[in-house]
Amino acid sequence: MRTKPSKRLLELTINGETYELAVEPQETLSEVLRNRIGLTGVKEGCGTGECGSCTVLVEGEPVLGCLLLAVECERKRVETIEGQAEEGVLTPVQQAFLEKGAVQCGFCTPGMVLASTALLKRRPNPSEEEIQEALEGHLCRCTGYNKIMEAVLHAASSAADKR
C-alpha cells in the first residue's frame, strides 16, 4: 500500500526573509528555491550530486540543493547567490570573479561563488590546496579553473588589504 504523500508546512529563512510554504516531501531545496520562490540563480545541472551548480548555503555551510529535501530544511537559514550583493554592490568574491574573468557562461558561477564565500569565512587566507578542496565538487565547462583559482586568491588578498 502506498500511503498518500501529504504536503507539509515549512518555514524557511531565505536571504534574510522568512517564507512559509506548503511543500511535498519529494520536493528538493533547489526545486523549491527555483520554482516556488523564483530564485533561479540556483542552477540544476546533474541533479545527482556530481556538478555542484546547485550549491547553496544552509546555516552558512555549502550543501547541494538537488540532494536535500526541502522538508529537511525546516527553520533553517538558506542563502543563495541573489542574497549576496547588497543594493547592487557586489561582494569581494563576486567582484574578484568579475575582474579575473572567472565567469564565462555563468552556469557554475553561483555555486562557485557561494562555496568560495563560505571558504573565505572560515579561512580568510586559504592556500591553493584549500581552495581546490573547497571547490572540488564544482564542475566548470568554460574557464579551465585557473581564473577561478586566481579570483578566490584575489578576493582573499583584497579583503586582507582592507583589514
Partner: protein
C-alpha cells in the same frame, strides 16, 4: 531530475523511528544525509513508499569513554568526523578516510552510518533502462547484467571510504531494531553479495559506532586511487594500521583492508600475517604489498581492468605500508 513521490516521517526518538520502520503495511527506508539514497531514487534503483528521516533525533558529538573507546553517533556528518579533534586524536585513520569521501558539500550532509550502509555500484548503475537500455538489470529487479551479460548475478562493488578504515580500527556498530542495542563487528555488516550488500535488515538502525583504543604505538595510512582526485569514488582504496610495542621496529599487530574492488571491504589476512613479528624492512614491505595484490581478488569496475587494479593495488599497498611505517619510525 525529479524524485518519485513518497510519504515522509520525521520521528523524534530512536524508539519511534524503529517502530515506524518495522510497520509492515508500508515499505519504509531510512533517510540520513540522502546523498546515496536520493540519487538512487532519482535513477529509479530504489523506490521506497515512505522515508523515515533521522534528522529529528539530534546528533551527539564524538566522545571518549574512560576505558578509551571512541563513541560516534551514526548520524554524525562526515565533515564533522573529518574535522573532529576527538577523532583526530583517537582515530586519525578514520578522520583521513572521512575527509576523502566525495566533496565538502556532500560531506556536510552525508553521515557516517549512511556511508557504511551505501549501496554497491557499477558503471551501468545510473543508466535508466527506460531511455537507454531495454532490460532492467538485477539491480532493478530484472534478470540480466549489462556488465557481464552471460553472468547470473550482479557484480557491483562497494565503495565506502570509511568502512576499510573502521575495519582496520576494529570498530563495532551499535544496531537498534532486531537485537536492539547489540554491538556488531563492522566486518560482519557486509554479506559479500552485490545485490544485498548488508547483513542487517532494512528495519535496523545503526545508532552508533564504537572504536576501541589502539594498543602500543600506531602507524596508519589511508590511500584512495582516483584518476582526477577530487570528488570521485575510488578505483580502489586501502587502509593500513600497524602497531608496535616497545621496539618501534617490530610489528605487534597489523591490519590491512581494501575497498572499492569487491562487493564488501576485504581484509588482506595473509599479508597482515607476514608483517606481524618481522622487523620492518623495505623487502618485507614489498613482499607484504605483493601479497595484498595476490590475495585480494579485484572485480574490474567503472572501466578499470582487472590487470590495472591488481597492479595498482600492489603500488598503493606499498605506498600505504611505507607511510604507516614512516610514522612509527619517525621517518617521512
Amino acid at each position: 531530475m525529479y524524485l518519485p513521490r513518497f510519504a515522509f516521517e520525521k520521528p523524534t526518538s530512536l524508539k519511534e523511528a524503529s517502530s515506524l520502520l518495522t510497520e509492515k503495511a508500508v515499505k519504509s527506508t531510512l533517510l540520513a544525509g540522502g546523498t546515496d539514497l536520493l540519487p538512487r531514487m532519482k535513477y529509479g534503483v530504489a523506490d521506497p513508499e515512505r522515508l523515515i528521516s533521522l534528522k529529528g533525533l539530534g546528533v551527539s558529538a564524538p566522545k571518549v569513554l574512560p576505558e578509551g573507546d571512541l563513541i560516534l553517533d551514526g548520524a554524525s556528518t562526515l565533515a564533522s568526523v573529518a574535522l573532529s579533534p576527538e577523532v583526530a586524536e583517537n582515530a586519525p585513520l578514520l578522520a583521513a578516510a572521512a575527509g576523502r569521501v566525495a566533496t565538502r558539500e556532500i560531506r556536510n550532509v552525508a553521515t557516517l552510518a549512511g556511508n557504511l550502509c551505501q549501496d554497491t555500484r557499477c558503471l551501468y548503475f545510473n543508466q535508466r533502462h527506460t531511455f537507454q537500455f531495454v532490460e532492467p538489470c538485477f539491480k532493478r529487479g530484472g534478470d540480466f547484467c549489462y556488465f557481464i551479460p552471460k553472468g547470473k548475478k550482479c557484480w557491483a562493488v562497494y565503495m565506502s571510504d570509511t568502512a576499510p578504515a573502521l575495519i582496520c580500527l576494529g570498530a563495532k556498530i551499535q544496531v537498534e531494531g532486531d537485537g536492539a542495542g547489540a554491538l556488531l563487528d563492522l566486518e560482519a555488516l557486509y554479506s559479500g553479495d552485490s545485490l544485498h550488500p548488508l547483513t542487517i535488515g532494512s528495519d535496523t538502525i545503526i545508532s552508533g559506532i564504537r572504536v576501541p583504543p589502539t594498543g602500543g604505538t600506531r602507524g596508519w595510512a589511508f590511500s584512495k586511487l582516483t584518476l582526477r582526485e577530487g570528488m570521485e569514488f575510488g578505483a580502489l582504496n586501502i587502509a593500513v594500521l600497524l602497531e608496535t610495542g616497545k621496539d618501534p621496529g617490530t610489528c605487534t599487530r597489523a591490519r590491512i583492508a581494501v575497498g572499492a574492488v569487491s562487493p564488501a571491504p576485504v581484509r588482506a589476512l595473509k599479508s597482515e600475517g607476514l608483517l606481524v613479528g618481522g622487523p620492518f624492512s623495505p623487502a618485507l614491505l614489498a613482499e607484504a604489498a605483493r601479497q595484498v595484490a595476490e590475495e585480494v581478488t579485484v572485480i574490474p569496475h567503472h572501466g578499470y581492468s582487472k590487470w590495472y587494479l591488481t597492479r595498482a593495488l600492489e603500488v598503493e599497498a606499498l605506498n600505504a605500508l611505507t607511510r604507516a611505517v614512516n610514522q612509527l619510525t619517525g621517518g617521512r
